[in-house]
Each structure stands twice: as C-alpha cells, then as structure tokens.
C-alpha cells in the first residue's frame, strides 16, 4: 500500500504547489493591475485616508482644505470659495485625477514629496498619521474677488502681477466651475458633474487666464511701440504718418482706423498720440518700417514664444508672434492682428516689464511650500529676472505714453482718484461672426508701479456688439483689481 500512498502524497504536493503558485501570481504579479481597478474600494479609501495639505492665498485664506468627515472615506477635499479660485486650485478627483495646483503640487499636498521624507519617517515611528504639506500661493484674495466680481456675466479672464517680483496676484477666469462635486465621495456625483463640464460649450474648466491664447488687438501696440523706441529711431514725441487708411503693402487692400479718420492733422501724429487714440495706421506704418524680425525680437523679450509658469507646472499656453510673416502680415501683426496670439498672462507681463523699468520678472504662483505643521517653510520661491524687455529710458517713455491713454485716451475708465494709472485698451476683431475681444492692460501707480493687470472679455452676452471695447468693458475691471491690490 505504500507506493500508492507515496503517489497520493506527490499529488497532494502538486495541489499545494498549485495554491502557492496561484497566490504568488495574484499577490506579487497581478496585484498592481488589481489595485489600479476603478472598482477597488480599498485603494480609494487609502487615497482619501490621508489628510491632504491646504492651499492658501498669500494672506492665508484657505482655498482648498481637507475636512474630516468620518466613515470609510475619511477626508473630503473642500473648496470653500468653489468657483472663485478654481483656476488656481484646480480640482482633486478620484476618477478624473487632478488639475492646476492640485496636480502640480500633488506630492507636497499628499505628503509624498521627498522633502517630507524625514517627517514621514518620524510619523512612522511615532505612529502619527502622515499629513500633507501646505502650498501658499501668491494670490491676493481681495484682488481675486474684485476680478471675479468684475467678470460676472462675461466670458473672460483677469491676471494681475506684482511687477517687482512676478508674483501672480490674480488669476480669475469666467465662467468658472465648482471643484467640489469632482472631489465628492460619491462617484456618481463626480461623474455627473464631469459630464456637465464636458458638455458645456463655454468650457468652464478652461483657465482662460493662462491656458488659452487670443488675438490681442491694440494692446499689442505696446510691443510695437517698445520696439520702435528701442530701435533708437523713434521716441515718444516722434512724428509718424497716421492717415485714415494705410495701404497694405503688396495688396490692394487698405487698413483703416476704428474712427475712420486720420490720427492727426496732415495725416501725421506723434507716437504718444498714436498710442493714446490707438491709431491703427500709425502702428501699421511702424510695423512696416521695423520689420517682423525686430517686432519678434521685442515680443520675445517680453516673454513671447516661451512657455511661462513651467516651474509651477501650470500648463500655461505659449503666446506667439508669427514665425515668418510676409510684409502685409507683418503690418497686421504690428497692430496685434493676423497670427499674433496671447494669453492674458502674457499681456500682464508686457505691462509689468514696462512698469518695472523694463525688467521682466518671471511670473510664479507658488509663493511658499510649508510643512504639514503649516509653520515651517520647506521652500520659498525667490523672484527671478526673466529678461530685460526694454531699457529704463524706453520704459519711462512708454509709461508716460500709457498714462496719457488713461488720462486723455481710450482708457479713461481705469482712472483711480489720487493714483496715476498707465494703461492700454484693445479691441480685437478675429472673426466677423463673433464679437470682438475686449482687452485692457494697465499698471499703477505709474510713478512707483506695483501691480500690472491684464483683462480680456471674450464674450459679453448682455452688451451690444458696438459697445464692446476694451475701454468700456475691461478697463473698469482692471481698475477694481488695481484698487484692491493698492488698498485704494
């Protein structure tokens, strides 16, 4: 009987081996696949079990926090102001990942960052639940609110910069969205809201302040004016042609002024006056004289053709000056048409560079990274110079020209009593079928600049088409934001 017992023993051994091979396959090799399945609640619970660090404004207002709610899913991500800061915080969702700072700073917020390693080690020993670090942004809550309130009812965006540091004080975009449903512990709620977002033609989750480029229109004349003065051939008082119509080179088309009239007597005007009334023909002439290389070079020194906010990983769009325009295209580009495309951030950078004696500071949105105790600093962002856009002298002349725009020109709506404001309007036609883009950019105080703003209104449903213009719609918002920053 012993030999069948031995064979049966061998059979038993095979069964044991089968069990062992099977669990080895599941637990060691198939585990990752199983753990990444959407219907695996264990992993979701883990994700929600850690207290995610808060996102703060520069004045310590929490704009994204984790709240302990109890139950299986311990912490709920909450955005107290929801739509107001959505372009800054982004959303944090189990099913739809993360966006904006929630994505870019995820390692810090979740506590996985290497810089928190020692702290995690201590937590492990002391048995504390690991927490995420905090991210303090450069956003000024009052300015942000002013911008968002100003944009109400419009489709548009506002960016405000600290001209001396490059800190982004405001990053508002409308229509906005509510990140809370996407962070919901109810997956069906996440799902539903996500669908609503994706079905919305207005793209509320698009950060119009940095992620979308539009034709700048007349605000680009600042770049053309800067290039002209930098060339040494012109200054603020130079007299240049400013006829009612400018013939486009190599074509039989002409380019006209908005008013349909010449910009000065004898079809001539000074550079200052051309900027003040936003004279198309004068800047068309300058563009033709300077050529596309000079314009492109000037634009690039203001930050064009390079992606901003790469350090902060905010997925900003790159503003473009066309690569190889022909002569008529160069002329059109000089007044911000043809293929020139900019983000509101880029326009704010132009103003900020002019305001900061011609030095462009690299914009950033993360001011400080804090340890989970919210007190000790892990990293503080140091302001950095990005480029010298124009000489101090050019900057001074441009500033004076821009002050003229606000005092006596198209930008009077941006005036602040007691503070000198420098600005420039823009109303960009892109497509005859859609309303023009209303732009305004400014900085203040003109004698000691601190804040630069760019505002764009893409659509203003309640405003008649003819009334849409940078001075009418955008300038008041810029004023409100500047007032908020300056405390005026």
């Amino acid at each position: 009987m012993n030999s069948p017992i031995r064979r049966v023993s061998a059979g038993c051994l095979l069964l044991v081996l089968a069990l062992l091979v099977n669990i080895t396959y599941i637990q060691a090799f198939q585990a990752d696949e199983l753990n990444s399945r959407g219907d695996n609640r264990r992993v979701i619970i883990d994700e929600y079990a850690r207290e995610r660090g808060p996102i703060l404004t520069r004045d310590d207002e929490p704009i994204a926090i984790s709240e302990e709610v109890g139950g299986d899913f311990q912490f709920l991500r909450n955005y107290p102001e929801a739509t107001l800061y959505a372009p800054v915080t982004g959303y944090y969702s189990y099913q739809y990942q993360r966006s904006a700072l929630e994505r870019a700073q995820n390692d810090i917020l979740s506590g996985d960052d290497d810089r928190l390693f020692v702290r995690r080690l201590i937590d492990l020993v002391t048995g504390e639940e690991p927490k995420g670090g905090a991210v303090k942004t450069t956003i000024d809550s009052e300015a942000q609110r002013a911008a968002y309130d100003g944009l109400e009812g419009y489709k548009g965006a506002v960016v405000a910069l600290d001209v001396q540091t490059g800190e982004i004080l405001t990053m508002a975009s409308t229509p906005s969205y509510d990140p809370n449903p996407l962070a919901s512990h109810s997956f069906s709620e996440q799902n539903e809201y996500w669908q609503t977002l994706k079905d919305d033609e207005d793209k509320p989750d698009l950060n119009r302040a940095i992620a979308q480029t539009l034709p700048p229109g007349s605000v680009f004349k600042l770049v053309t004016a800067a290039a002209a003065i930098e060339s040494g051939d012109y200054d603020a008082e130079s007299v240049i042609p400013g006829p009612a119509e400018y013939p486009l080179p190599l074509t039989d088309r002409t380019l006209g002024n908005q008013s349909g009239q010449a910009c000065g007597s004898d079809d001539e005007t000074t550079l200052t006056n051309a900027l003040r009334i936003s004279c198309n023909t004068a800047f068309a002439y300058l563009g033709d004289e300077l050529g596309d290389d000079v314009l492109r070079d000037q634009a690039e020194r203001f930050g064009f053709n390079a992606q901003p906010l790469t350090e902060d990983e905010m997925n900003a769009a790159t503003s473009r000056f066309p690569d190889d325009p022909d002569e008529p295209q160069t002329v059109l580009s000089a007044i911000g048409q043809y293929d020139v495309r900019v983000t509101p951030l880029q326009i704010a950078m132009v103003s900020a560079a002019i305001a900061n004696d011609g030095v462009l500071m690299d914009p950033y949105i993360v001011r400080e990274v804090l340890a989970p105790d919210l007190v000790s600093t892990i990293e503080q962002t140091e302001p950095e110079e990005l480029s010298r856009a124009v000489s101090p002298d050019t900057a001074q002349q441009l500033t004076e020209m821009m002050v003229e725009v606000v005092e006596n020109g198209t930008g009077t709506n941006a005036q602040i009593s007691g503070i000198e404001v420098a600005g420039k309007t823009g109303t960009a036609q892109s497509d005859p079928d859609r309303p023009p883009y209303a732009w305004f950019t400014s900085f203040a105080p003109a004698d000691d600049p601190r804040v630069a703003v760019a505002v764009v209104i893409e659509e203003a449903p309640d405003t008649a088409r003819d009334d849409i213009g940078g001075g009418a719609l955008a300038a008041p918002i810029a004023r409100a934001v500047m007032e908020a920053v300056l405390g005026a």
Partner: protein, 462 residues
C-alpha cells in the same frame, strides 16, 4: 510531502539499547512557540486597528497556554510516541484564525471570537476524550457498515424537517435546542473511518480486473457498487443541499482511498471521469453551481462580492501584507467564514498566506507519514484518508477564495469561524495523533498483543 524512506521500525527495535525518540520535549517547545505566535497575532490586531495593547493580552496568552498544555499532557499520557509537530501546527492555525476573527469583530462590531474560543475549548475537550476513549485505532475498524450508515444519516439530517435548516442557501445545518451544527463535518470523519474499514475487507475483490476499456482496466461491474453508491450519495447531497464542497470532498477522499487500497490507477481515472460528469451535470441542473462558475470566470461582474473583494484584498496585501488590523478584510462579505484565507492573505500578505498553506501541507505530510509507517492496513488507510481529506478540503476552499478553482462551500479547517468544523477537526487531529502514536511506537518485541483481534490479512510481497 516528505516520504518516509526509513526501514521498518522493527529492525531498529531489535536492538534493545535504542530508545525511540518520543519528541515530547520538541512538542512542548514548538507549542510555546505556537502560543507565542497566536498571542502576538492577537495583540498585533489590536495594535494595528486600535493602536493599543488589548487589556486581556496576558489572560489570552495564559488561557491559550493552559489549553495547549493540557492537550500536550494528555498526549504525554495517552499517546507518548505521537508526532510532535501535529499539535503545535493545529494550535498555530487556531491562534491565527482566532486573531483574524477577532480582527473582523473589531471591524464589524461583533463578538465571534469569544464564540470561537469557546468552541475551541469544546474541541480540545473532545480531543482529550477521543485520546482517552480510543486506545487503539483498530477498534474503529470493527463496524464499517454501521459507521457508513451513521455517516449517511448525519448527511441526511439537515434535510429532515424541524431540525434541518438552511443558512445562505445551503441546507447543511441542523438546529437542536438553539444550537446549530453542521453534521457533515462529523460525517466527514465517520465516513472516512467507514471507508477505511470497508476497504480493508474488500480491497482484494476490488483489485480484480474486469473489462478493459480505452486501455484502462475497469473493475468488475459488481465491485463498482460501493463507488457508485457513494458517488450517487455525493451527487444527491450536492443537488439537494445546494453545496458542492462536501460532495467533492466526500467523493474525492473515497476515490483516493480505493486507489490506495487496491493500488489500481484505474480507480483514479474512473473517479475523475465521474467527478467530471458530476460537475457537468451539476452545472446544468443546479443554478447555484452555474452562478459560482460564472463568478469564477469573471469575478468582477460583482465588484463588491466575495470573490472580487477577496482578490482585491489579496492584491492590496501584496507580498508582505498590510499588517494585522491595518487592511480592509471586513470588505469581503462574511470574511470570517469561507473567506478567512483571503482575509489572512490581505493582512499577512503572500508571505503569511504561504506560511499558512505550508502549515497545512506539513500537517498533512505528518498524517501521510504516519500512514506510510503504520503496519496495519486499516491504520494506513485511515491516516491517509484523514490526511488527504484535510488537504482536499484546504485545496477546495483556499483554491476557491483565490480563484484557482470555482468557489464551493467548505470551511477552512481550524481557521474559519464555525463550531462544528472546529470541534470535528480537533477530533480529526486526535485521530491523527493516535495514528501517529501507533506508527512511531516501537513494535512489541516479545508477544504480539493483538493477534486475537487482527483481521486475517493477505500478505503482500513487494
């Protein structure tokens, strides 16, 4: 399984100077280790889940130690030559099971662990009783037909009105005076004894070849009777009680025993064919079986179901596990029952689950080793039957929860919550201890004691 290749003990014991190793000291040492692991697991659960050492940790340690020591002392008295590894393995498995049940109690706010601990005490009491009552396993061979009848009655009991009742669709319970009991756990042992006794008497007839079919020597038709009766009984239980596990276990053990008794591979082939046909029939007739099968093919059609949660748990535990008290085994529905293996796999990881499976393998190998060494055919068959039955049960249930094979209802021996299973498995262990004691006991040198009782046997010369 380690195969004992040693010469028959009688040769060694010819020399009177050789004192056979009893291994009781080893057993005590291993028991201390087993009690230590069990207590550590229990403390670890509370540390992991609540962050504190349970207040009754010392009492638990003491209680476990006392119970183990009592069992150990009884072995010293009644079965001094018993295999020293068996009891420590069983204590370890019980301890790990208790820790996991306690851990699930914490999550579910239940108190199954106390119940299970009580049943373990009852189990140990029965263990002691068996060791005292059955001095020689051969007395069990006397009434195979009576045993067989008892086994069948036990199987049919749950179908009786009034006492029989069904839990979660399986009609395998009887309830008497508020106490629930699964008689098939007892039937498992009784029937194994009956099979062994029956086969000792009839194995020669069964070994005779009948017709050749497809190159396989089929047994004679008249000898097919017993296997067909058991097969039909198994199928009957399956269809009526709606539970595949016990049928597979019953039929599988029986086929293996016939094979061991007759040394004819054709029984295995016939058995496999019948199992295949039985499963095919069950798949087509019993909706329950078909569901289990479909769930096996795609467990994620029900992502909150037992099997999907079991796989998620195993994956979540990964190689080294989450640590006791720190996973989510409570997400597996009724984890403390059939799926306790998956719960342990989650919190102890691949490493822990492997260790548990190897403990079972070691326990079974000790049974098979006793079977090899034993000299009487009944003892050999009984030891082999109990050991392989245990292994089949472990394979069917652990294979089921880890999706190696379709799930069928069987309890995980010693680990799972369930009084009947735990108590009867302690009885099974008592029998294994008894058998291993007989196997390792030095052969009487002068006068054979059992000549009068021994059944006349056909002597085989290998």
């Amino acid at each position: 399984m380690s195969l004992n290749q040693r010469l028959p003990r009688s040769e060694a014991t010819d020399d009177e100077a050789v004192v056979p190793r009893r291994g009781r000291g080893t057993e005590l040492l291993l028991l201390i280790f087993a009690v230590g692991i069990s207590t550590f697991a229990y403390v670890n659960v509370d540390l992991g889940a609540l962050g504190e050492v349970p207040a009754d940790a010392m009492a638990y340690l003491g209680g476990f130690f006392v119970v183990s020591c009592v069992a150990h002392i009884v072995i010293r008295i009644r079965a001094p030559y018993a295999d020293p590894v068996i009891l420590p393995i069983v204590v370890t498995l019980c301890g790990l099971g208790l820790a996991m049940i306690h851990r699930l109690d914490l999550a579910d706010d239940s108190s199954h662990a106390t119940t299970q601990l009580t049943w373990m005490l009852v189990g140990v009491a029965l263990f002691i009783t068996v060791l005292f009552l059955i001095r020689d396993h051969r007395i069990l061979a006397r009434y195979p037909y009576l045993m067989g009848l008892t086994g069948l009655v036990l199987l049919i009991l749950p179908l009786m009105p009034i006492i029989g009742h069904s839990i979660r669709g399986a009609q395998i319970w009887i309830r008497v005076g508020g106490m629930s009991f699964q008689p098939n756990e007892a039937a498992k042992i009784v029937l194994t004894i009956a099979f062994a006794g029956f086969l000792v008497q009839t194995r020669d007839a069964l070994a005779l070849a009948g017709r050749r079919f497809l190159g396989v020597d089929l047994p004679r038709a008249r000898d097919l009777g017993p296997i067909l009766i058991v097969w039909l009984t198994a199928l009957g239980i399956l269809t009526v009680q709606n539970d595949v596990g016990p049928s597979v276990l019953l039929f599988g053990s029986f086929v293996l025993l016939i094979y061991i008794a007759t040394e004819r591979i054709s029984w295995i082939i016939l058995g496999l064919m019948l199992i295949g046909f039985g499963i095919y029939a069950a798949y087509n007739v019993v909706s329950h079986v078909r569901q289990r099968f479909d769930l096996w093919l795609d467990p994620f059609i029900d992502p909150t179901g037992q099997l999907a949660q079991s796989l998620f748990g195993l994956a979540y535990g990964g190689t080294i596990g989450t640590g006791l008290g720190q996973g989510h085994p409570d997400m597996i529905p009724i984890a403390e029952s059939d799926f306790i293996g998956a719960a342990l796999g989650e919190e102890l990881g691949l490493a822990g689950l492997t260790a548990i499976i190897l403990l079972y393998a070691l326990l079974v190998s000790r049974g098979l080793r006793a079977s090899l060494v034993l000299r009487d055919p009944f003892g050999k068959l009984l030891a082999a039957g109990l050991a392989t039955g245990l292994l089949l049960q472990v394979f069917v249930v652990l294979g089921g929860v880890t999706r190696l094979i379709p799930m069928s209802g069987l309890t995980t021996p010693f680990l799972a919550l369930g009084g009947s299973s735990l108590v009867m498995n302690w009885v099974l262990v008592a029998l294994l201890i008894r058998l291993s004691d007989a196997a390792r006991r030095p052969a009487p040198t002068d006068k054979p004691t059992f000549t009068d009782d021994a059944v006349t046997q056909v002597v085989r010369v290998p």
